[in-house]
């Protein structure tokens, strides 16, 4: 039994690691985990952008960006999303000061801007489909609807999450769990705005330059 050490002997050894697990609070690594999810989501969008980049010029004798896109509508949409990003920031600032009502109010404003963004996007899609520019029409349109639609779907789920969080905050206030959820949704919301920069630049603006 040569290798059985007494506690004193064990203590005499130099420890190169912490013997006791220092306690991690519940949800302490949630934000980093959520960030890594967002990075994987980033890869989803990268693939959709790559697809659009490859087939975005294949109109199959159908309508191209210049026939379909209305840049003033896109500018309006960009404004909506940018404003919603800022108002979400205001919601975060209110939550740091434990102002529940102000946090909820800013979240509602954020949700309304998000809904306005979606409404404008759906109007654009409906208009295009009405003119015959459906996703089936050409490779360009398939890639366009997949890329922009996936972003819109993310915004939709962001709004669903936002409403859920409003209910949670209404019931339990700004407790630790809700503050964490608020911070995660903040990452999600700002991330969607970052993706939108890529969409309006590569799809809409550069589409008009073709």
């Amino acid at each position: 039994m040569g290798h059985a050490l007494t506690t004193e002997q064990a203590a005499a050894r130099t420890l190169f690691y912490q013997a006791d697990e220092h306690d991690h609070e519940a949800g302490g690594s949630t934000l980093l985990g959520f960030w890594i999810y967002l990075m994987s989501d980033c890869l989803v969008f990268a693939v959709l952008f790559a697809t659009y980049g490859v087939v975005g010029g294949n109109y199959a004798a159908g309508p191209g960006p210049k026939d379909l896109f209305d840049l003033s509508l896109v500018a309006l949409n960009t404004t909506m999303l940018l404003l919603s990003s800022m108002t979400y920031g205001f919601a975060m600032l209110s939550s740091y000061r434990n102002k529940v009502a102000a946090t909820q109010a800013w979240l509602v404003v954020t949700g309304l801007f998000g809904a306005a963004f979606l409404a404008i996007e759906l109007y654009e899609f409906a208009h295009m489909i009405h003119e015959g520019a459906t996703p089936q029409r050409s490779a360009f349109l398939s890639a366009f609807f997949t890329l922009v639609g996936t972003h819109g779907l993310h915004v939709t789920f962001g709004i669903v999450w936002l409403i859920t969080l409003l209910v949670q905050i209404g019931k339990h206030g700004l407790n630790r769990a809700n503050a964490r959820r608020l911070a995660c949704l903040s990452l999600f919301w700002h991330f969607l705005d970052v993706i939108w920069i890529g969409v309006f630049t590569f799809v809409y603006l550069m589409g008009m330059l073709r």
Binding site: M39, A61, S85, M92, L93, A179, V194, L205, M206
Partner: protein, 131 residues
């Protein structure tokens, strides 16, 4: 920008209060307003370049608006997402850099390969020609 992030090696929990207010680094009102104003400028110029009557070549405009997009993405990262090299002990930045490498490989690789496939393999014909 104020970061409340503390090294985990600290062990003792001075960040008890910080956790209630969310774990991540905090932005200030000034951060959000600066980010918003910069974003408005960085969005308005590309739209104006494309919508207005600018006498530059399309290639120049494309180059400039991509540059503006890249700068605006960084602005969002800094002022809205409050990323610093130190947040989460550097892991957010590490994962971001790794992701960016993959994104660049995916985008540049796809475009490069498919462009050459196109020019080497496809018979050149006008898409508008009747079949």
């Amino acid at each position: 920008m104020s970061t409340h992030a503390q090294g985990h090696e600290g062990g003792t929990h001075g960040h008890e209060e910080g956790l209630i207010h969310g774990d991540g680094p905090h932005g200030t009102l000034k951060d959000y307003l600066t980010g918003f104003i910069l974003s408005v400028i960085l969005t308005a110029i590309p739209f104006w370049l494309v919508m207005g009557d600018v006498s530059w070549s399309n290639q120049t405009i494309a180059f400039v608006i991509v540059a503006f997009a890249a700068v605006q993405m960084v602005v969002h990262m800094v002022y809205f997402l409050h990323m610093t090299p130190k947040s989460e002990d550097g892991w957010t930045l590490t994962s971001l850099v790794f992701t960016l490498i993959l994104v660049v490989i995916t985008l540049a690789g796809s475009l490069w390969v498919m462009y050459h496939m196109d020019s080497n393999m496809m018979p050149r014909h006008e898409a508008s020609q009747p079949l």
